[in-house]
């Protein structure tokens, strides 16, 4: 069966196991689908230089590395980053900063939307 255009949104609960599970799921979905991962709202904190292991959470690096080897696209909402005054760290995959308007378009054009 055909590939699907999937948008996976991480919008809540930064610094938790949710981020870890969401990215593990993203790696799985990137196999066989046209996947875009969007970080918005509180979710943009996921992309900062935080230390999951200090609070008992597995690091995200392995999933991010795996995503870097796929066709998946990673997008962060420009407004969400600006409002929170935060700085993103370097990840093993390019993070594209896009305005809210483009994020909305990506959601509208997706066939499947998964939110975390």
């Amino acid at each position: 069966m055909a590939k699907k255009k999937i948008v996976l949104i991480i919008k809540s609960n930064p610094f938790s196991w949710k981020a870890f599970e969401a990215l593990r799921q993203a790696v799985g979905l990137s196999m066989g689908h046209d996947l875009t991962i969007i970080f918005m709202k509180e979710g943009v904190y996921t992309l900062t230089d935080w230390k999951p292991q200090m609070i008992g959470i597995e690091p995200l690096d392995k999933s991010m590395e795996a995503l870097g080897m796929t066709e998946a696209t990673v997008v962060a909402e420009e407004e969400a980053i600006r409002e929170r005054g935060i700085k993103l760290r370097q990840w093993p995959i390019e993070v594209k900063i896009r305005p809210k308007e483009e994020v909305c378009e990506l959601v509208e054009n997706a066939e499947v939307v998964i939110t975390w």
Binding site: Q25, V112, I114
Partner: protein, 100 residues
């Protein structure tokens, strides 16, 4: 239709109730209905409501990695799967409902 519900939510949560009620209604409309349990959702695979859904015709899948990590042993009617398995289920599904 072919409906896929993915449950990653905490045990004894509103999402569990929503998943069960939506699955029931979907089965009653004769839709192909699957539930995939992952993350903290894995604990809910032990609840009797899930077994009832299976007996009514729902397909039950779970992420084996999460089950092992959380020391949960689902019964044999639940199908051991993975994130790659989930990806294939999404391919087949007409609608996906993600609860977490």
């Amino acid at each position: 239709m072919n409906l896929l519900i993915v449950l990653a939510s905490n045990p004894y949560s509103h999402d569990f109730n929503t998943a069960v009620k939506l699955a029931e209604a979907s089965i009653n409309r004769n839709h192909r209905t699957s539930i995939f349990f992952m993350g903290n959702g894995i604990y809910s695979v032990l609840r009797p409501e899930v077994k009832e859904l299976y007996e009514k015709g729902a397909k039950i899948y779970y992420c084996a990695h999460n089950a092992q990590q959380r020391k949960i042993k689902p019964e044999e009617w639940a199908e051991s799967s993975s994130m790659y398995g989930l990806s294939k289920l999404v391919t087949e599904a007409d609608k996906v409902i993600m609860l977490d």
